[in-house]
């Protein structure tokens, strides 16, 4: 009887762990999606009209100031 209850406890714990894994995976990874969007936007737009000076780090000049009007 002891062995059976041990098995039941083990199985319950494992089921809980599995449920936790599934739960994590249901949430939309917003930060990862933003990074993916930025990678695509960098590639597609190339932001060639920003006139970035050659020495400056590309992709910096369009953030921060001047975003709103």
């Amino acid at each position: 009887m002891k062995a059976v209850s041990k098995k039941v406890a083990w199985a319950t714990g494992m089921a809980g762990a599995l449920a936790a894994c599934v739960t994590i995976n249901i949430y939309f990874p917003a930060a990862a999606a933003e990074r993916a969007a930025d990678r695509v936007i960098d590639e597609v737009w190339r932001l060639q009209n920003d006139a970035v000076p050659p020495a400056a780090a590309p992709g910096e000049s369009h953030t921060g100031k001047g975003e709103t009007q």
């Binding site: 990874p29 999606a33 990074r35 993916a36 969007a37 932001l47 975003e67």
Partner: protein
């Protein structure tokens, strides 16, 4: 199979699953042939769309699409061409959002992917482009 082998197998399987999940959280996979084909097409189209972004004829809509917001900015002979470009870009963007969700084994994320892209298109649009914010169209 011995009685003790099964729990170990289950633990190994769970660890593998958990490792996969950690990576899934770290980055979304955008490196599939379908996604690459779409971004290549969008890249090629961008050169043609750029003058219309700058003139304000075409803007970044709040729903993750492009919108022809001011047709009067486009010379009459070019209007058909602009409409075609906007329609083609919106079709590719829709396919891109769908493919990214699918490539990451969550087709139900499509709307979230679209919302994320919409937000970043608006935020990252360079000065002078038109974007549709919550309060309407604004020129950055």
């Amino acid at each position: 199979m011995k009685p003790m082998q099964l729990p170990r197998l289950v633990v190994a399987w769970l660890l593998t699953l958990a490792t996969g999940l950690v990576f899934a959280q770290a980055n979304l996979d955008i490196d599939t042939p379908a996604i690459r084909a779409l971004t290549d097409a969008m890249k090629a189209r961008h050169t043609e769309l750029l003058p219309f972004y700058e003139s304000g004829a075409v803007g970044q809509a709040a729903n993750g699409n492009l919108a022809l917001r001011d047709a009067a900015q486009v010379a009459l002979p070019q209007r058909g061409r602009v409409n075609g470009l906007v329609a083609a870009e919106n079709a590719d963007r829709a396919a891109l959002y769908r493919e990214i969700a699918r490539a990451n084994d969550h087709p139900e994320w499509e709307a979230d992917v679209r919302a994320t892209f919409a937000k970043r298109f608006l935020e990252r649009a360079p000065k002078g482009w038109w974007v549709e914010s919550a309060s309407g169209w604004v020129r950055k």
